[in-house]
Every structure is written in C-alpha cells, then in structure tokens.
Symmetry: D3
Subunit: 246 residues, 6 copies
Amino acid sequence: MSSDFSRPSGRAPDQLRPVTLQRGFTRHAAGSVLVSFGDTRVLCTASVENRTPGFLRGTGDGWVTAEYGMLPGSTHTRVDREAARGKQGGRTLEIQRLIGRSLRACIDRKALGERTITLDCDVLQADGGTRTAAITGAYVALCDAISVLRKRGDIKTNPLFGAVAAVSVGVYRGVPVLDLDYAEDSDCDTDMNVVMNDGGGFIEVQGTAEGHAFRMEELQQMTALASVGITQLIELQRQALESVTA
Amino acid sequence: MSSDFSRPSGRAPDQLRPVTLQRGFTRHAAGSVLVSFGDTRVLCTASVENRTPGFLRGTGDGWVTAEYGMLPGSTHTRVDREAARGKQGGRTLEIQRLIGRSLRACIDRKALGERTITLDCDVLQADGGTRTAAITGAYVALCDAISVLRKRGDIKTNPLFGAVAAVSVGVYRGVPVLDLDYAEDSDCDTDMNVVMNDGGGFIEVQGTAEGHAFRMEELQQMTALASVGITQLIELQRQALESVTA
Amino acid sequence: MSSDFSRPSGRAPDQLRPVTLQRGFTRHAAGSVLVSFGDTRVLCTASVENRTPGFLRGTGDGWVTAEYGMLPGSTHTRVDREAARGKQGGRTLEIQRLIGRSLRACIDRKALGERTITLDCDVLQADGGTRTAAITGAYVALCDAISVLRKRGDIKTNPLFGAVAAVSVGVYRGVPVLDLDYAEDSDCDTDMNVVMNDGGGFIEVQGTAEGHAFRMEELQQMTALASVGITQLIELQRQALESVTA
Amino acid sequence: MSSDFSRPSGRAPDQLRPVTLQRGFTRHAAGSVLVSFGDTRVLCTASVENRTPGFLRGTGDGWVTAEYGMLPGSTHTRVDREAARGKQGGRTLEIQRLIGRSLRACIDRKALGERTITLDCDVLQADGGTRTAAITGAYVALCDAISVLRKRGDIKTNPLFGAVAAVSVGVYRGVPVLDLDYAEDSDCDTDMNVVMNDGGGFIEVQGTAEGHAFRMEELQQMTALASVGITQLIELQRQALESVTA
Amino acid sequence: MSSDFSRPSGRAPDQLRPVTLQRGFTRHAAGSVLVSFGDTRVLCTASVENRTPGFLRGTGDGWVTAEYGMLPGSTHTRVDREAARGKQGGRTLEIQRLIGRSLRACIDRKALGERTITLDCDVLQADGGTRTAAITGAYVALCDAISVLRKRGDIKTNPLFGAVAAVSVGVYRGVPVLDLDYAEDSDCDTDMNVVMNDGGGFIEVQGTAEGHAFRMEELQQMTALASVGITQLIELQRQALESVTA
Amino acid sequence: MSSDFSRPSGRAPDQLRPVTLQRGFTRHAAGSVLVSFGDTRVLCTASVENRTPGFLRGTGDGWVTAEYGMLPGSTHTRVDREAARGKQGGRTLEIQRLIGRSLRACIDRKALGERTITLDCDVLQADGGTRTAAITGAYVALCDAISVLRKRGDIKTNPLFGAVAAVSVGVYRGVPVLDLDYAEDSDCDTDMNVVMNDGGGFIEVQGTAEGHAFRMEELQQMTALASVGITQLIELQRQALESVTA
C-alpha cells in the first residue's frame, strides 16, 4: 500500500462503515430490523407461516427463505419496480438465494418444526453492500422471530446454532479493503462477498474479478480481512440482541 | 351518535391520527418523504427522468405518475411480494392510478416540460389509509423534486398550482368518522377516500358501501368531515415544506 | 344552464340514452343479456360453477364475481387484445372489481350456497358508460342465472335482496348531465360513476375531476341526477325480467 | 351410408347449417360482420392501422393478420378468460394463425400498401366450426375494410384477388358429412378443416383422425364435400357483399 | 416434370434424405433417440411420470404428450430462446400439439395405466422437416420407454398398437417432392405434413398453400408420395428397434 | 485422507473425469462445441449478431453474453421446460450470468467491435458440473466464432486475450476432491466452482458450505486443486483448437 493510498470515504483499509441494527423498526412482522452499513439501509422483516413448501410437506422439517428487493427510489438513478416489470431480475434472484442459503446454515430445520420463516430484505437506500447488510440484519430479525415462537411455546428447542454475518471485501487501487461502499464498488478490481459464522467458518465465498484476475495471495488477504470484519459484525449483532426493544 | 360511542383508538369522530411528514428520509431521490398517519407509514420518493411516455413525446408536456407497493412484512399477515408473483394486483393498480391522477391535478404539465416525475409510494407499515397517506406524502415529495429542478434552472415557471391531500372517512357503528385506522376500516359500514385541493375542491371521491348502502345525508356528512381533515393535512404539508431539511 | 346549452346528442341534461336489455342473447350461459345504453353495447353473461375461491372454501358462503373486457374492434381506434398482451390493464381490473363489488351488494352469499356466479361483461361497441351499462345488464343476467338455480331446486331461498343499477353523471360545459356518451365523456370537467340499489342507497360513488376540482354543490347535483337515472334503469330492469324470453 | 343414418340435426350429409352474414354489426371498425353457422356465432371486425410489423417496415408491403378469442360464456361450460390467465392457449394461437394465413392468400400485399388490417374474430356462441365460420365471416369484413380504404382514395388498385371461405368436414358414424356441429364434432372419427378460394383451389387442408386413421378414399370424399360447401359459402359471401348496409 | 428439373440436393422427387435413428443417445430418460433426416437433427427423449393431468385423474387412463423446442443455435440465424422470452410461440405450440396427437394415435391409454409419458423433442440442428423428424424419432423413444415399463412389470398389456411416422411433401417448381429440406421448404408452392400409421391410414394431414392454391390432383399426388416415404420410415423404425443398444 | 477413502467413480482426489471437446458438432452457428466432463454433456454454440444491447449502442464496444438451459430429459427425473413454465428459474439465471461474466474476462470488447456473441449452453445430459463444463466448452466455441469473424475480415485485432476454463471442487467425506460428479455433488460438505484464466488468475470463486462451514485451509486446498484441474483443461482446449474440424 503506497503511503498516499486513500479510500473515498477516508476509512482505513480494514475499517467497516458505521453499522447500526435497529430492532422493532416496524411492528407487524415477528422480527423487523433496519440495518445500516453507512448509507446503505435495508429493512429486514421476518414473517412466520405455519406451512412449508411442497417438497418438505410431511417431513417435519421447517424452512427459512428470503426475498430481496430494491425500492425504486433507493438508488441514484431510479430502478424499475420489478413488480411492474412482471419479473424479478437475475441479480435479485441471485441475492435472495444467497441470503436464504446463508441463514439456513445456522438453523436446525428439524427443531424449527413445520413452519416457514421468510426474511424480506428491502433496500431503502443503496450505497454498496446491500446483500451483506441484508444477511447481517436478517439474522437479527430471524432471532427475534424465533424468540416470539419460543415465548409462545410453539418451539421447544432453540433451532438456532451460531450466528451468521456477511461483509464485502475487494481490491481497490491495488489495496485489499473491507466493506466497499458504492464509490469503491464501481471502481474496484475485485469484489468478493463473504458470509461466515461465529465459529470462523465460511458459509459462502463469492469473488468476481472485475478488472484483472486476482491471485491466490489476494484471495487470502481478502478472506482474512472479511474474517476481521465479520467478527465485529457478529459482536454488533450480539449487542443489538441483548438490548431491550420498545 | 350515542353517548357511549367510542372509536377503537379513543379519537373523536373528527380527529385525525398523529400525522408526520419527514422530508429527506433517503438521499438519492429528488424528493423523499416518510409520511405517518398514526401507525401507517409510507415512504414516498419522487424521481425525475428527462423523458415522457410515448403518447406525450414531442408534445412538450411533462408527466407525473405513481407506483405503489406494500412491503411483504408491512401487514399483520405477510402479503405476497408482487415482484415474485410476477404481477401487480388489481388493488395495487387501482391505488397507483388514483395517486397519479390526484397529483396531476395540481401540476401544469406544460410548465413541467418534457420530463417525468415518478412518485414511488411504498408502505413500510400498514394500519389503514395507506393510499390517502401516500397521496398526502407524495405531494410533499413532488414539491421537493420540483424545487430541485427549479434550483438547477431546469424549470422556469413553477408547474405547481395548489396543494393536494387525501383522507379516508367512513361510517363506523353508525357514526361518520375521519381517518379510519385498520381496526375501524375492517369493521365499518362505508369507506370513502377523498382527495381535495387547497381551494376546497374535490379531486376524487370514492365511496364504497361495505355493510349497507349509504344515504345522501351520510355522503354529505362524510365529505364535510373529509374537508375538515384535508384542511389540516394541507396545513401540515405547508409547515413541513417550510422547515429546513438536512 | 345558459339558454343555448346543448348536449352533442341533443338530449336534455337529465335524459338517459335509449336503454335496451335483451335477455337470452346467447344460449349456453345461465344468464345472457345484451345491454345497450345508446350506442354502447355490452354482452353480459352469468355462468355458475359449483365451487368457490380458496378463501371461502368450507364456509358455506357463495361468491359473485365479474370479468370485463373490450373487444379490440369495439372502439374508434382498435384497442390491443389483453389476452395477446398477456395481461389485463389497470383500467380493466378496476372496472371488473367495481362490477363484482356492486353485484355482491344485492346478494345474500349464505343463501347462494357454495357456488360461484361469474358475470362476464364484454363490450361489443363502446360509446361511453361501458361500466355502468355492464353493471345494469349484469344484474339482469344474475337474476336469470339465479332463476335457473331455483328452478332446478339447487337454491331454496332467494339470495337476491333488491336490485342494483348504475349510471354515469358529469359536469359538461358547466351543466350537470346524466349518462355521458363518448363525445361528452372526453370533453367534460367531472366524471362520476354511481351505483345505487332500489332502496335509493348508494353502493358506490366514484367521482374524478377531469378539468377542474368540483364543489360540494356539484357533487350533490350529480348524485341527485344519478338517483333520477337509476330509478328509471331499475324500472327497465324490472320490465325486462317480467317479459318472457325465447 | 346405411338407410337409417341420421345426423343429430337431421341435416343431409352434404347440407350446411343455415348461414347468415350480417354486415355492419358494430360501427367503429372498418368492417364488422356477425357470421352464423347455425348456432355458432362469431363477430368478425376488420381494423386498419397505417403501419406494418417490424419485418415488413420499409418494404412497401402491407399485412393482414388475425386474432381469435372465445367469450367465456360462449360455451356450455364457461371457459377461462385468456386475458385473465395471462396468455393465449395453443388452440387459440393455432386458430388465429390459420385465419391470418387463409386471408393473406387472397390479398396482394403490395397493392395494400404499408398498412395492417387486423381481423378480430370473437366467438359469441360456440356450436362447432368456429374457425371455419371465422374465416368465412372475416373475409367479408376484410372486403368492407378495403372498400373503406378505396372510397377514401387510400388504395388505388384492388388488393383482393378472389374470395376465401372455409368449412369443416368429417366422418360421422362412418359417413362423410359437411359442416359439423358440436354434437357431431365431439363424436366423430375424423375432423377436417378446409379452406378454399373461389377458383376451387385449396388454401389449407387440416385433417385429424380422432377415432381411427382415415383412408385415402375418405380423404377424397371429405375434400369433395368441402368443395361443395365452400362453393355455396362463397355465393353467400357474394350476396352479402352486394346487399346495402345501414 | 420437365427433364431439367432438379432438387437442390440432387435427390429424386420421391427420395427421402438419409435417415438415422440413434437409440440411447442420452442415458437418464427412459427413451432417448437422436433422429436425423439429412442435416435435420432432433433429440427425442421419453420420460415417465406416475401421474396424469387433472382432467384424467382417477379415470385409470394414461397420457402421452409432447414438448418441442429449437436450440437457439440450431438455425442459420440464432432464434430467441423461448424460456428467456417468457413464452412459447404459436409455431412451437402448434408443433408440440401435433406431435402429441400423433403419438396418442398409436397408444391404448387404458393399457398404459395412470402415468404420463412426455416426449421432449429438441432440435439440435434445423434443415427443414423438424416436426416430421420429431414424430418419427419420438415414436422410437416412446417404444423404448414402454419397454422399460414392461421390463419392470409396471405394465402388463402392450399399450402400443401399430407404428406412427411422418414426412413432409410439397410442390417444388411444379413437381411433387418428398421430404423437403430447408432450401426447398423456403421456396415451394405448397407444404404438407403427413402423419400415417403402419396400416396405411392417415393420422394427420396438414397442407398449406404458400404460393398458389393447390388442386385436388396435387393433393392426391402429395399424399401418395407421403405414403411411399412413410412406409420406408416405418421400416427404418422397425430396424432401429430390433438393433441392440448400449 | 484415510487409506480407505474412495470416490464413487474410483477417481483419485485430484483426477478430472475424461474430458472431450468436439468442435463443429452442429453447422449453423459460428462456433459449436459438444463438451463432455464424464457423463455431463453440454452443447455450446456461439452466434454472432451485428448489434449490441441498448446500454452499449454507439460506444463502439462489443458484448459477449450467455444463455443456459437444461433439456427436460437431461436429468434422472425430468425437469420442467422453462419455456413452458414461462420463466427461467433463479438457478438458470445465476449460471448464465456466471458464464457470461467468465467469458467477458478474456475479451477486449473494443477490439470485438459493435457486435454481440451469444453463447448458448444447453445441457444434453447432466451428471454434475454442468456450469463448469459449459464455461470450458463455451470458450472453445467463442474462439471458433472469432476465427470466423477474422477470416471474413470483420475483425482486425484479435479480441481474445488468454483462455478461460472452469472446474468444480469440493470436500467429499472430509477430502478435497476435483471435478465433482452428481454422486459426489449431492453428498458433499462443500461445493465450489472456480473459473481461472491461463495466467493462473482467478476470474470467479463461488464456494458454498453445504453441510458444515469450511475453514481457511480447506478453501486453500480447494483453490489449489482447482488450479491443477484448470491447467489441464486449458491444455485440452488448446489441443482441441489446434485440431482440424470437418
């Protein structure tokens, strides 16, 4: 890293944006969390239904799934409303599949019983990293929904084992950096999204060369950075879940 | 009204819910207002594009249109995501057509010039009256977007003439009441949405008998109540627009 | 009204177009009525199925619903076939929801039993007021379908309570007028569709300011005019239902 | 043919149903014909637009195309509205492609000029043979639309060369019969739709074995019968076109 | 036929292209046949499912159906992928309906039992006659799938009665010719697809005049030619089915 | 690795399945390659069009994109045809986006000029690793298409810089293994798809924990294995491209 390297935000290479996790942002869903990674703000709600998709019916297993959307006014240039266009785009499907897989990695579906928890992650304001913010916030909403089920006595055993959080990393002007914002994301060489659990294991690693193919050592630097960031995010999740909500 | 009549919320028959209009709720759209009518919260953003729909191209006229959606977790029971279902339902189309018509009623489209302002009204939390809150909030977002255009010098003449706001009225247990919340809405005899301008004229009147057909005098009582409520809403819009935003 | 006011059709302000209700226009549906309001002609058929939508299954209640369409050649300029475009437009959905709500307002769904009556309203020729003609004609088709069910012994108690009809009113060149045709509709200041029952109660009131916002006294004049027209329409429905069909 | 053979309708094997061709059935389209083949009634309208599909643009050629639909109440059991289902079924597409091809076979597209004539064929009542009735009626509507264009001076040379009509034939209980109605159609061994021109040439031959594979001599008998019927239909078209319409 | 008539391929008028039927082309489906008619190559697989469509449920009858598609790169100019466009076109639906009807003509659906065999016909390379190649190849795949069911003991009685094959015929430069390739197909006066069984009976005859209406004697010449070709195709099917597969 | 570890296929942990790259498999597309990774067979065609998507028009840049599909009969249990279902699923969109990104990583879009090359990757037979086989085969098809363009003189400078290939790796019963087949894929703890170029750089890394979260050293072992396999695949691509095709 040359001495005059600087990120557009002035952050250190290994520095997260300010992160907030506001529980109880809305009141009807069993869990409702407004997560902010800097200017990226995603509303994550967790809704419970007492049925499962067809392929699970009768197995006793539960299901956790996710849907993702961007409000049309959340970006610099208005994005089309997918409901009006009549279908969800490839990027949306890819992201919501990622969120669902990530959260299922910390759930004992047998202990959940025959019910579905849907995590809706809607981006109110986008500034890079919406999918990683969504995973990080959705985990907290999922915890709140499960608390509701346990208080009601619907679930005996805690189906959650461990925490899950996500962060992006990349190579920006030759330097590995943590938690890319939009200015970096649109101008970096490599973009990687990493999902990890609180045991330090990888759930998902998705890296894409944008400008130039990345080398093994860059891969290692990026995953190490991600690990640092996710440790902090999991601590923030823990603090948020310990606080009392309205 | 019998002496023991009471609304679920304890409000007087002609009393609005607490109303807030938070400007600048998000930062990318030209206008962004979070409007609350009690527990109903709708995010209204106004986005500007320098083109108009095909039927207007070359006429020099501008266009104002609206899109409406409910976040899946905004209601007591999760609603399907319309983008995932692959189409917008009849209720959604009906509401967004209403919002668009209402706001076009206060705009000189010639003065706007060949551009489109889209008002996206997304319900974060639903407790009755989402369409009337959306119209009331979208008007403020529209004003902010037009201010941006005027500051930039894109528009010479102010295309806005007058203000527009909306409120619901109904007959609840025999008594005409203002601004129905969900508890009243799901249990009332008649439900009417009224859109008016600041000159006291009606833009839209949409009344539906739910339980029993309503009489002429009920129609008059309801429209009179609506007029009282809208006068207050237009004053609240005026105050919000005079305040300084971040 | 100035002395030289005249409607394009030469009608008096409170005069309906010639109305006909031809029962038994086609033979397969349980009810089939060709309704004409002047040059507006709508074929309304009522079909009976022995099942109800999912949300009613097992409740013992019946359902009445409507679908609306315009034949592509029914208008001056050919309209797209919605089946070919792959979806029904917002206007279509809005109208068919209105027709369905209006007819459910005169039906005891418990007495109907677990069956669905679908009113298909297809516009053969459009000259303004297609939705009000559709409601007025569909009521007669609904009566015929119910007669069939009663003759077969499928229904014991008459599920119909009262009649329903609809008419448009508007302010044309400053004068409130009844039953707008296309020439008036495309050139009026206010357009209102009113649905009433034979007890003089309002089922639906939908008024839209086209050119200028309308005042309370205009609202009252228009609803009074509508009441006059609907009384005549309900009498015409009664006469049609008393006549013998082929 | 055994001596006790009889058709459900009592017709002779080579006898058409009563055929009517009512021109000017509606007034907005350039051509509008209600065609009846017995109880089968199809409204055929011809609409003119001054543009052609993309693949013809700039070639100077015109286009003739068709769309087909069945009103939901036109059959014994209500059929789904294709606009509501969100797509046209395979049978519909097959029929409208057949109608379009058939009518293009009598049109000089160069002489038509860069315009499109769309034939909308909507079945008001179905009793077998809707596609052949549609072709026969659409030809008359097409003639009327072309007359309008010629009267306006939009077309110099008559683009029509020859007439086109269609009829079904089949083998019913071992006997070749002309113009199958629904009772025969649903109980026959072979069903064939034949489109011919007034020169006795075949435009389309579509035969399907329903119960047993048909032999060469049956194919010849059926096409001969079709030829007899189409000669009569073309004479009826000629008479209809010579009559004066309102 | 003038002495200097020649087909683009140099074939005699009554000569088929080289035909191959390669069984076991893929291994997962119960039947899998790569059929070639010259350069036209279609992969036909037969898959078995132990359920039938809704309209057959509980009747004890089985079902045979077909789906057809062209790979985007199978033609000279890339064709759109129908999955990406979001719907199957009219031509596709027409062809797959034809394939399904043709194969059902040689199946005793009662003997098949409550199961569905789906014939997927995917064109790898197109050079005219894809639908007739598909029918001819799908018959062999169907036989293989039924053999699997019989070997497993799932079916007691052979549900197949007779063989089915198909070929195109046409009038090319005034001469009736057998099995049109693309060069002929795009330049012929008449195009006819004929499906026959091994008893010499017609299952389907679909003839379309492209350039000029065809006469009765041409219809007879073409069907006679088709009969000659189909006899050879059925012999090739028999040989393929007698050979041993990997 | 315990001494009794064995893969279902008997392969060594770092052993690829037999790989073939058959060029010129079909003849209409500019490039056409049938790639096999063991029993997985994917037909990759490259088609050239002289236009680019809207967002590139006028920039002088070209575009490379991909579409992916599975033939319904390619798998053990028939998969639905996406064209019939009316949309491509999330998995399909994800895979075709991956293929497109991977191939764009070895193309100088400026040198390609204003044209689009579409890689259609259709799975004829699936046995695990279809997306990595598709990328590996599509690269060869892309090279052939570019050769065609260069021979025609349409392109002056070679737009290809370097080769791209892909392989899957995973942890199967505790042991990192290369190129998973279906038996391993459906029973492994971690599944990772890796795309690399011939300079040893990573283009894409997509790893998903299936059973347990993977550790940093497993990530390194897997990427190292992938690197070994891709080196071999790129050599096989080179050999295939040097051979002469029919």
